[in-house]
C-alpha cells in the first residue's frame, strides 16, 4: 500500500514537472509576445499604493452604464430571486450536508471548468498558466477523485488560476461595451456576458450531463445552490452596509474583475 502511494506521488510529480516544463519553454515565446499581449499591464489594473487610484472615482475601470434603469430593474429581480428563493433553499441544503462535503462538491464543479480555463490561457498567450491549469485538472481528476479534492492546490501548491473567455476577448482588444445586469447571473458587461455564454457552451460540450435539458438544469441548479450555501449571509451583509447597493455591487464587480485579470502577482 505504502509502495503504491509512493508510486502515485512520483507519477504525480512527473505530471506536474511535465506541466511546468511545458509552461517554462513557452515563457520565452510569451515574453516575445509580451509587448503585444500586454502581460503585466492589464486594462484597468489598479495599484493601491498610488494616489491616482483614489483620486478620480474608480478611474479607468469604470464602464459606461447607459441602460441603468433596465439594469436597476434587473438588479431588483435578482435581489428578490436571491432573498426569496435561492437563499432559503441554500440554507435548507446547508443543513442537510456538512460544510466539507459541500466544499468537495464545489471543488468538483470547479475542476470541470479547468479545461476551458486552460484553453483560455492559451488563447491569451499565457502558456505557463495554460500548462499549470491543465496540470491541476489532471492531478485533481486522478488523485483528487474526479476533482472532489484539490491535491494540486494543497500538495503541489498550484493555486487556482483565473481565466475566462471574457478576459480572452479583452486581451484581444474587444471593449466592454457597457454594464449589464443579467437575470440569474448578476453583474456583467456585454463582453463578459458573451464570454460567460461561450465558456458555458464549451464546458457543456464535455460535461458528463449534457444528455438532456433536465439533467443539465439539475446540475447547474446544484452548482448554484451549493455555491450559495458556502456564502450564506454575505450578500445581505454587503447590502446592509451600502448606501446604494446597485452602485456598491457595480463597483465591487469592476474591482474584483481587475484583480482577476491581473496575473502579475503569483504570490502563492
Amino acid at each position: 500500500m505504502e509502495c503504491m502511494k509512493g508510486h502515485l506521488r512520483r507519477l504525480c510529480l512527473l505530471l506536474a514537472v511535465v506541466g511546468m516544463v511545458l509552461s517554462g519553454t513557452s515563457l520565452a515565446e510569451a515574453a516575445e509576445l509580451g509587448g503585444e499581449v500586454g502581460y503585466g499591464e492589464v486594462a484597468g489594473s489598479v495599484d493601491f499604493l498610488s494616489d491616482e487610484s483614489y483620486e478620480k472615482p474608480t478611474g479607468d475601470v469604470q464602464v459606461a452604464d447607459p441602460i441603468e434603469p433596465f439594469n436597476r430593474a434587473m438588479f431588483t429581480v435578482n435581489d428578490r430571486l436571491y432573498l426569496w428563493v435561492l437563499e432559503p433553499v441554500a440554507t435548507g441544503y446547508s443543513k442537510l450536508l456538512p460544510v466539507d462535503i459541500r466544499g468537495c462538491i464545489g471543488n468538483f464543479f470547479y475542476n470541470l471548468g479547468e479545461p476551458v480555463r486552460s484553453a483560455n490561457c492559451l488563447l491569451q498567450g499565457r502558456f505557463r498558466d495554460a500548462g499549470l491549469t491543465l496540470g491541476r485538472f489532471l492531478i485533481n481528476s486522478i488523485f483528487g477523485v474526479f476533482g472532489l479534492a484539490d491535491p494540486a492546490g494543497d500538495e503541489f501548491r498550484i493555486a487556482p488560476i483565473y481565466a475566462s473567455f471574457g478576459e480572452t476577448l479583452s486581451v484581444w482588444g474587444v471593449g466592454d461595451g457597457f454594464y449589464l445586469v443579467v437575470p440569474l447571473i448578476g453583474p456583467s458587461t456585454v463582453r463578459d456576458f458573451s464570454g460567460v455564454v461561450v465558456d458555458g457552451i464549451a464546458s457543456a460540450s464535455y460535461s458528463p450531463w449534457n444528455d438532456d435539458t433536465l439533467t443539465t438544469a439539475t446540475a447547474q441548479g446544484t452548482r448554484t445552490i451549493n455555491r450559495t450555501s458556502l456564502h450564506l449571509g454575505e450578500y445581505v451583509e454587503i447590502k446592509s452596509m451600502s448606501f446604494d447597493s446597485y452602485v456598491a455591487f457595480r463597483n465591487g464587480y469592476y474591482q474584483m474583475r481587475s484583480k482577476q485579470y491581473d496575473h502579475s502577482n503569483h504570490s502563492k
Binding site: 499604493l49 483614489y54 483620486e55 451600502s242 456598491a248 463597483n251
Partner: protein
C-alpha cells in the same frame, strides 16, 4: 561593543519600521479580543465600542475619511471634516459588529508586502476550514507607525467602494445630503444591533 551593536540595530529598525511586523501584533490583538468569551456576553453596543477601541490603534480613520470623500475634502470646513470622520467611523463600527459573531478561530497568513515611499501594502490570507479570503491592508507611515487607511477584500477596496457611492450622493445632494444619509444608515444599524 555588544551594547553598541544592539543600539545600532535598534536605531536602524526604528528608522525603517517593517509594516508586516507592526501589523502582526495588532491583528493578533484583534483576534484575541474576538475570541475572548467574555466579549460575546456583553451587550452588542459595548462589544462594538470595545472592538473599535482596538481597531483605532492601527487604523487612521481621518485618512480613510479624506480618501472616501475625495477631492471635495479640501472644500469642507474643519468642523465638517471632524463630523464626517466621526460618522464614518461609527458606520464602520456598526457595520462590522456582526463580524464578532462570525469569528470562529480563523487564522491569518502573511503573504508579502510592498513598500513605496511612505505607503505600504501588506497582503494577508484569512484562512478558514474550507476557504481562504485574500485581505490587503493599505498603510501610511506616520511618525514611525504604519497606519492602515484602506482594506482590500478579494480585490475590492472598501474606500473606493464607498467613494463611488458617496460621490453620487455628493453630486446630487451635496455634503448636507451625505451627512443626512450617513445618520440615517447609522440609526438603522444601531436599531438592528440593539434588537438582536
Amino acid at each position: 561593543m555588544v551594547f553598541g551593536a544592539v543600539v545600532c540595530s535598534q536605531t536602524t529598525v526604528s528608522a525603517a519600521p517593517d509594516p508586516t511586523e507592526q501589523l502582526r501584533p495588532f491583528l493578533d490583538k484583534v483576534t484575541t479580543t474576538l475570541s475572548d468569551p467574555g466579549l460575546k456576553h456583553m451587550p452588542r453596543q459595548e462589544q462594538s465600542n470595545r472592538m473599535i477601541g482596538v481597531i483605532r490603534e492601527r487604523f487612521d480613520f481621518r485618512e480613510m475619511s479624506k480618501r472616501v470623500i475625495g477631492q471635495q475634502w479640501r472644500s469642507l470646513s474643519e468642523k465638517e471634516q471632524a463630523e464626517f470622520e466621526a460618522l464614518f467611523t461609527q458606520l464602520l463600527q456598526y457595520a462590522y459588529v456582526g463580524k464578532i459573531e462570525d469569528y470562529s478561530g480563523q487564522r491569518i497568513q502573511y503573504l508579502q508586502q510592498r513598500i513605496r515611499g511612505e505607503r505600504a501594502e501588506v497582503q494577508t490570507l484569512l484562512v478558514d476550514e474550507n476557504k481562504s479570503i485574500p485581505i490587503s491592508y493599505i498603510m501610511l507611515l506616520r511618525n514611525d507607525q504604519w497606519m492602515a487607511y484602506d482594506i482590500v477584500v478579494e480585490g475590492v477596496s472598501l474606500v473606493r467602494n464607498y467613494m463611488e457611492q458617496f460621490s453620487e450622493i455628493l453630486r446630487k445632494d451635496g455634503y448636507p445630503g451625505l451627512v443626512a444619509q450617513l445618520k440615517e444608515k447609522i440609526a438603522d444599524l444601531e436599531k438592528n444591533i440593539n434588537k438582536s
